[in-house]
Each structure stands twice: as C-alpha cells, then as structure tokens.
C-alpha cells in the first residue's frame, strides 16, 4: 500500500517545534547582543564571572544531590516492599506519590514553616542547617512523583519477587538481597529518577525563596529584575544544563550491565548467543 506524504502530522511537528524553539532562539540571540552593534558572548562571561552565580549554583547542586540521596533511600525500599508484600496498597502509594503534582509547592512550604517554625517543638527554621534540611525534604517531596515512577517501573521490569525468592533460596538475608540484587538492578531507574530530581531542584524557586535560601532559582529571578542581557544568558545555560542531564539520563537508563557507556569503535566484534 502506498502512503502519501503525511502533511498534517508534519505541520503539527513544525508548529510544536516552532512553539518551543522560536522563543529559545530569540532568547539566545538576545543574550548575544550585550555589546551594541555586535554579537558577543559578553553576557555569558558576565554571568560566569559572578561569584553569586557559582555560589548559588553550588548550593542548589549540593541540595539537589542530598535530595537524590534521601529520595533514593526513601523510595527504593518503599517501592520494593510495596511490590513484594503490599500489592494491595500500591494504588494508595501511587496516589500519595502523585500528590506533589496536585498540591502547589507554596502550600508545602507554608506547611513546613507552620510545622517547624519558631513556636513549634522542632523549630528547624530557626537555624540555617535546619532550614537547609527543610529545603532538601521539600525537594524530595517535589521529586517524589518522578523518583517513585522511575524506580517502580525499574522494579516492574525485573520481577523482583522471583529474584528475591531466588536470593533467599541461596541463603541471602533480606538486607543482602536489597543491597546486592535489587539495588544494582534498579540502578538505571534510580539514575533516571536522580537526573529528573536534579533538573527539578536545581532551578526551583518557590521553596528556596520562601525559606530564604541562597539557591539558584531565586538568584535567576533576582538577576532578571536587575539586569537585561545576563538573565537571557542564564536561561540558555540553564537549558543547556538540563538537556545535558536528560542526555545522561537516556544513556544511563538504557544501559545494560557490563555495557560500555559508548560503543567500542574499531573492533566490530559482538558476542552472539549460542544455539
């Protein structure tokens, strides 16, 4: 059967691409116009030379890594246990994991401030470290839908119930099974969840701003209020960083055990299955 050229779908792709790419291109072009009458990378140089840029980016990166670590510690055993022993609770846990998509971050942060404010029995907002902890916990909550979904899908792909039984029949304890069998086999899923967490947390504004933390999100907003060309450069840098993370996520998430990150060039050899 002969198919004609898919005009309608091609048009939709072009319109959708233009919707995303034209503003991006406009921002990029604007970021190059800091010097009158010529195109230059002066706005990028200005952003990268700023100590605030480095400090806020480092702060957000550290907070994001902490959120990834706590998120993985919380989500992996939970998803494992729910799949293994509490199948009936899965819909409830899935619903809970999706709540951060429904409840706005501003509600979450005001909840934090009320619960852990100066008049509470655990006044975390009274110290810098305490507020950092609240920010990290907030990031864990915000990234929960992505982290849980990624890890749960990873577990669905490997039949954890049978692997657990196989490990137990070989004498392994439950902890050993999680550490040596389950964790390495959902590593790709955790990495995928981790990159999503990182890209969400890195530029997050509401929690960081209302908790008054020196994070990258509030810095970007502040810069947007004070300068003209640097915010455009910052937006492009931020996009580039996010895309690099997405690319890394794709590479890690689809990697098999023992597989190289990049294909080996030149040998042309591959192992084949015996009959």
């Amino acid at each position: 059967m002969k198919h004609g050229f898919p005009i309608a779908s091609t048009l939709i792709v072009f319109v959708a691409a233009a919707y995303f790419l034209v503003p991006l291109y406009a921002t990029f072009q604007f970021s190059l116009q800091m010097k009158r009458g010529e195109l230059s990378l002066a706005s990028y140089a200005s952003v990268l030379a700023s100590a605030d840029f480095i400090n806020t980016l480092s702060y957000s990166a550290i907070a994001s890594f902490a959120a990834i670590l706590f998120g993985a510690i919380l989500v992996v055993p939970t998803a494992y246990w729910v799949r293994l022993k509490l199948q009936k609770l899965r819909p409830a846990v899935e619903f809970l994991s999706l709540l951060p998509l429904i409840i706005p971050p501003v509600v979450l942060v005001f909840g934090h401030i009320r619960l852990f404010g100066s008049s509470s029995i655990l006044p975390l907002t009274m110290t810098s470290t305490g507020t950092d902890i609240l920010l990290i916990v907030g990031y864990v909550v915000l990234s929960l839908p992505y982290m849980f979904r990624a890890v749960d899908n990873g577990m669905a792909a490997i039949d954890i119930a049978t692997l657990t039984e196989a490990a137990e029949s070989l004498g392994a304890s439950r902890l050993r099974t999680i550490v040596e069998i389950i964790f390495p086999n959902v590593r790709s899923a955790i990495v995928a969840g981790a990159f999503l967490t990182f890209s969400i947390s890195l530029g997050e504004f509401v929690l960081a701003s209302l908790l008054n933390r020196p994070a990258f999100g509030p810095y970007m907003v502040q810069l947007g209020e004070d300068r003209a060309y640097e915010p455009a450069a910052l937006a492009i840098l931020s996009f580039a960083l996010t895309w690099i993370l997405m690319l890394l996520m794709q590479l890690f998430a689809t990697r098999k055990p023992n597989q190289r990150l990049l294909p080996r060039f030149g040998t042309g050899q591959s192992r084949k299955l015996a009959p």
């Binding site: 049978t162 039984e165 029949s169 070989l170 098999k256 055990p257 299955l273």
Partner: protein, 361 residues
C-alpha cells in the same frame, strides 16, 4: 526413614483452600514429580517446602529436622524457577557463586566450585556471560548450576522447562535427570506436562484440587490409575459405551458381543450405560490372528504423524476411538470411510465408569 516428610499440610488463601490434608514421604535421592492441571496446588506445595509460603497447618521435616518454622534462607534447599530468575547484574560465574559467597566460602573455593558446576551443566567457558547474553536453555542451565552449587539438602524444580522450546526441553530434562542421578540429590519437580513427568521420575504424585489423587511410579500411574481423574489426566483414553448385562458377574454388552470387564461401578444396575476406558495403544487393527474382543467400524479420519499413523475409527453409537499404529513404508494409511475391525483384550480396560460420569471427567 524417609528424607522428606510432609504431614497433614493444609494451605488456604482467604476462603480458598488450595492444599488439603497433604501427606507425603519421600526417600533420599529420589526424583519425584508433582503432576496436575493448573490450579491443582502443586506449585503451592513446592513453595511450602521451599519456605516461600507458610502452611496454614501441618509440618515439614527434612532429613529428620522440623523445618516448618524456618525461613527459606535457613532451609538449605536449592530452587530452579520457571522464569530462570538469574540475577541480571551478575554474570554466569557471579550467579553460580552467589550462594557460596553468602555462605562465606573463600574466593578460591568459589572459583573452583563455579568451574565444577558450569562444567557439570556443559557451560564451561561461559563464566563472563551475562544473562542477556545467554539463550533460554543456557540461562536455565546456569540457574540449575546456581541452585546446586552450595550443596543444598534437596532440589526443587518449579516447571523449569515450560519457557523453553520443545527440542531443548527434551534434551534439558534428560540432562537434569542425569545430573540428579550423579549427585544423588533428592529432587521435587513440578510440571503439568505428563510426558515430562513420566520420562524422568522415580515417582509421580498426581494432584487434583489440592489433593493427592495417586502417588506411585510412572508405570503404575499410567497403567493402573487409581481414580477416574488419573485415568483421564494421564495419557489419552478411548471411550467405548456398553450396556450392563449382569452386574454380579461384571458382564457388559457392546452390540452383540458380551464381555467380562475387570470391574464395574458399585452403583451399576442391569441395563445401565457404562463407559469403558482404553489406551489407544491397547487397540489393534484385526489381522486374522487376534485374541480378545473384535469390533467393526469405519475410518472417520486418518492422520499421518511421521513415525505414527493415528486413525479415528467410528464404531457406531457415537463412539469414535483413536488407534495408533507405527508407520509401515509398505502400507499406505487407510482411506477415510474404509471398513475396519479393531481388537482389544478385556484386561487392557483401564477403568469403567458410569456413562454420565465420563462427561464430567
């Protein structure tokens, strides 16, 4: 003294009782198959032995030790799963050596045992291969090597051949049996494939609806089924309808022929319809030198299966029986509609049931 003792095992999931008063004793070194249709409870019993399920009541003893309260990791039982269950993050050597590593064996000991086990299953040289680099048959052989590497007290095989293609299934089951004999390890094999069970087992436990229908060696299970279910479930059966002539003398009538059957149901009365069950291979085409009962009919259908020719013979009265004969290069299979006479011996009747039971069996 028996090696494995299951005493009064019951297992319920909510209101459903899937294993009912299950009692079984197995001698050391035996290869025993649990055979039955899907949902008969065979896998549940296996999982109870392994420690993955707790019985609702009853006890399990292995080599004299009560293991009912022990976890799966404490029982020292090797298990091979239908879906292989190899650890995807470990290569073949890592998989086979995992149980030994857990047991605290030294690196040298693990390496030597892994090589020994992979040699045993014919996969020496495959140490570095990951599961995704192995075929289904190879994965299951690695799974077998992994299960027996830590020298378990017994081996459980949960439909290990079901996911494999027919040719590999036949060769692997022979290999499993050979290895079991070599190691002398007591083995329980769960299958719904009767040919598999008949070909490799010392003993077969036929299960139905959570109960043991019959426990015996393959020859007895096939030739002397204890219940109508076993007779129908194992192998193929032909049904010949007959009328009870004299219940006291076990006499029945098929057309004009009267025959004295080995037994009749206790409730049979003169004039009742009964179903006589015979294996297809018990019936012969008449050749002029026959003994026993002769019945005439015509060929309803004929299938050439290579080494075997399978005929469907219509004997009238709704009875179409199957008859298998070996292929003979000099003789063409009979044409559909050709008249034929079949013969059989009364002693070959496997069971006699009331005609209405046959429908439900």
């Amino acid at each position: 003294m028996s090696f494995l003792d299951l005493h009064a095992i019951n297992k319920s999931f909510g209101p459903n009782t899937v294993v009912k008063d299950f009692n079984l004793s197995l001698a050391r070194g035996k290869f025993v198959s649990f055979l039955g249709p899907s949902g008969c409870g065979k896998t549940t019993v296996l999982r109870i032995i392994a420690g993955f399920e707790n019985p609702s009541s009853g006890t399990i003893h292995i080599d004299g030790q009560d293991v009912t309260g022990l976890t799966a990791s404490q029982r020292k039982i090797g298990m091979v799963f239908q879906a292989y269950a190899l650890f995807p993050n470990m290569n073949a050597a890592g998989n086979v050596g995992f149980g030994l590593k857990v047991a605290g064996a030294s690196r040298d000991e693990i390496e030597a045992r892994v090589a020994e086990m992979l040699k045993l299953v014919g996969l020496l040289g495959f140490e570095k291969r990951f599961p995704f680099e192995l075929s289904g048959g190879q994965q299951q052989r690695v799974a077998l090597a992994r299960a027996i590497a830590p020298r378990p007290r017994m081996l459980l095989l949960d439909e290990p051949l079901s996911a494999l293609d027919a040719k590999i299934r036949v060769s692997l089951r022979a290999q499993i049996r050979e290895i079991q004999r070599e190691l002398g390890i007591t083995t329980v094999f769960v299958t719904h494939d009767q040919e598999e069970a008949l070909s490799v087992s010392d003993d077969i436990v036929v299960m139905h609806a959570g109960l043991i229908e019959q426990h015996g060696n393959p020859f007895d299970i096939y030739n002397r089924p204890a219940t109508p279910f076993v007779a129908d479930f194992i192998g193929q059966l032909n049904t010949l309808h007959a009328e009870v002539a004299e219940p006291s003398r076990n006499m029945v009538r098929i057309g004009a022929a009267e025959l004295n059957v080995p037994s009749l149901p206790a409730i049979a009365r003169a004039g009742d319809r009964v179903a006589l069950k015979l294996r297809p291979e018990s019936m012969r085409l008449a050749n002029g030198h026959d003994r026993g009962i002769a019945l005439s009919g015509h060929v309803a259908h004929a299938s050439f299966l290579g080494s075997v020719v399978r005929l469907g013979i219509d004997l009238g009265g709704g009875d179409v029986v199957k008859l298998d004969s070996f292929n003979d290069r000099q003789t063409l299979p009979p044409e559909v509609g050709a008249p034929l006479t079949i013969t059989f011996l009364v002693d070959d009747i496997v069971s006699t049931q009331m005609a209405n039971q046959q429908r439900s069996a």
